[in-house]
Amino acid sequence: MTSSPLNFYTRVDRALRDPALGAAMERATKKLVSGREAGMAAFPEADAVRDHARRIRAHTIGKLGHYLRQFETAVHARGGHVHWAETAEQAVAIVAEIASQHGVRTAVKSKSMVSEEIDLNAALARAGVDVLETDLGEFIVQVDKDHPSHIVAPIIHKNRHDIAKSFRGLGATDDDVIDVPQMTAFARRLLRAGFLKADMGISGGNFGVAETGSLCICTNEGNGRLTTTLPRVHVALMGIERLVPTLSDLDVMLQLLGRSATGQKLTVYTNIISGPRRGAQGATGATGATGAQGAQGAQGAQGAAESDGPEHLHIVLVDNGRSGLLGGELAEILYCIRCGACLNACPVYQQVGGHAYGSVYPGPVGAVLTPGLRGLAGWEELPQASSLCGACREICPVRIDIPRMLLSLRAESTRLRLTPAWATFGLWLLGRLAVRPRAFRGAQRLAARATRLLARDGWIRKLPGHLSAWTRQRDFPAFASETFMQRWERRGR
């Protein structure tokens, strides 16, 4: 799941020294946060809907086994196939096997974070399948052999000049890269050719609806719709936690997803897919309806043949560590609906960007999810890379208490001795002193004397030892010559 061989501090250092990245991040996150604010401001029932959505997510995760079985049964009833992947290796093997069974040579893919998580493109390339990313951002990531740095906006770290440069490498002319519309048109021409020749479409799934076996896929570019309807085989990848019980529960989630991600009332293309093409050869199930009719289609009669949609629908449900979180202190992170709002609101993410986290899932949600799924060892810095300011919890549409889980992970780090010994010792010492007021006062006097020796005009420019990290960034004030408590005693109380 790592996208970088560099260690965390090197990645952070590199990010903080990149002014173009800083400018791109500031511009994009401000736009996303203000879009979300405007969207929520025009949605007076937001608070109640968020509470409702949280209850739905909590209920679903609490009974996940039940809803997964219900979902599987419903997908089968509509003529789709469900595959269970316990690990990333199993997941990519399943997709490669499906491709092989159907004689697939080329595939188009709409955006899927799970496919990034399991590194699907590389595995399919080894199996002889060419995969074309069709989400514009993911396409650019693919062209650049880069990695997404945001779960919704994969190239948030780039500006249009970077993209123009990438497109020139694909043969774009001066006219093709004049401005964003021309670049988009250029990408569209390339992608359209890919859609028309693809044997297989690969998508993610924003939600799976347990009662109907429907998939909900939200995009803003229409590529998701082409990916899931044009090729003869559709493979959808979903984390096992992506379920909601009913279509009305889905409605609650959709009211929040677009608004939280960008401020949109609804993503431009919101597809509800229930089974492969009805009446298609080799398929027995129901409708492949899209859009607003999808909900009716999902509940509607099974009968008349349809003229479009894939002949085969395969849904791959990926665990890859998720079930290990159920019932534990981090289970709440499975409520996440992948809107990306916590990334946009996080001051740390805004400064360092997504690549610094080294994981497919960056930002606050990633700082919990990545060590949760993969274990803390190797990811122990992520839960520390937060000031616990609470902006993530405040903005989360389903009110996930990310700071609480960062603290759990910090506690786990301390137990596993993955935190620096000096810090653990220092806090132990503080704890011992704090319960012995006389010793505490003595330590205060020592610290006061030491800081006053180091200070000039009341400020220290360089602290010793590990504390020098503080003075690398800012000065430290000397302790007062007399503490509040000393002065209070003198006051004669």
């Binding site: 501090y9 952070v12 250092d13 903080l16 001051p347 740390v348 400064q351 360092v352 520390q384 890379a385 937060s386 000031s387 616990l388 300011c389 609470g390 902006a391 919890r393 609480r404 603290l407 992970l409 910090r410 506690a411 786990e412 780090s413 301390t414 935190t419 620096p420 810090a423 653990t424 806090l427 132990w428 503080l430 704890g431 002193l433 704090a434 319960v435 007021p437 505490f440 205060q444 610290a447 006061a448 400020w459 420019r461 990290a469 503080w470 690398r472 960034q473 800012r474 000065d475 430290f476 004030p477 007062a480 007399e482 503490t483 509040f484 408590m485 002065r487 209070w488 005693e489 109380r493």
Partner: protein
């Protein structure tokens, strides 16, 4: 998880409080403690300062050293054991520790769980105590500064202090309020985060200081000396003339200087 100031306001107007001065105010900024005392006494409130108080345990809690934090929380409960007197804290983050985190840490400790809950219920952050409990907005303060207010994270999002500090500041005669861009964004302090992740913390601080400088303020005011220490350290390193003040220090001044 609660985002409101804990505890219902006592039925009668309190006449005494216990001050939890906080270890940072005690050690580094005693004037802030005396400003708090000054404002409270002016309002007719007698202030007690329990002598055994040390640190509320927040540094250990935020680092995930829960056993150390629990020991400190027990000590806190023992020291502030007068069941009927409100406890006032001039810090949103220490307030959040006492009001929300300590009761959670001690929830399974039969000897302390109930006492920690009771302490939380009668504990107030300083500005919440003035505005919500005493019903005061104008404490008769006078100033002359151009003030940018930085809402510290734990006060704002932990205790829900969205309104109280502004109500008090607005009533100070002679000052000018300077709107701060990105005011609700963290200054990057975060306790040990500022040392463990010093470079990230420093980049947040630079962004905060840039916003402060753009605001045209000559004074940054907050309700937490921890953030102010961080911001002041950055301003001093830059050689900036902008000064920092705890809100209590602004409220304590009655004569224009």
């Amino acid at each position: 998880m609660s985002h409101t100031t804990a505890g219902a306001a006592p039925a009668a107007r309190p006449t005494r409080v216990q001050l939890l001065v906080t270890c940072l105010v005690d050690s580094l900024f005693p004037d802030v403690g005396f400003s708090v005392v000054n404002v409270l006494e002016r309002l007719g409130i007698a202030v007690e300062v329990p002598v055994g108080q040390t640190c509320c345990g927040q540094p250990a809690f935020n680092a995930g050293s829960f056993d150390d934090a629990r020991a400190m929380a027990r000590h806190l409960v023992d020291v502030f054991d007068r069941g009927d007197v409100p406890v006032v804290i001039p810090s949103g983050s220490c307030g959040d520790m006492v009001i929300h985190q300590a009761p959670a840490l001690l929830a399974d400790d039969p000897a302390y769980a109930e006492r920690a809950r009771q302490l939380a219920a009668r504990t107030y952050e300083f500005t919440a105590f003035l505005v919500d409990v005493l019903g005061v907005s104008d404490v008769g303060a006078v100033g002359h500064q151009r003030i940018a207010y930085h809402p510290a994270c734990h006060g704002l999002r932990g205790l829900g202090l969205e309104r109280q500090p502004g109500v008090l500041l607005d009533a100070v005669a002679g000052i000018e309020r300077c709107p701060l861009d990105e005011e609700a964004t963290c200054c990057g302090f975060g306790g040990l985060f500022s040392v463990k992740m010093s470079d990230i913390s420093g980049s947040l601080l630079s962004r905060k200081i840039a916003c402060i400088e753009r605001s045209g303020a000559d004074t940054v005011v907050a309700t937490d000396v921890s953030c102010l220490m961080h911001i002041a350290g950055g301003l001093h390193r830059k050689g900036s003339p902008v000064r920092v003040k705890h809100l209590a220090e602004v409220l304590a001044v009655r004569e224009p200087r």
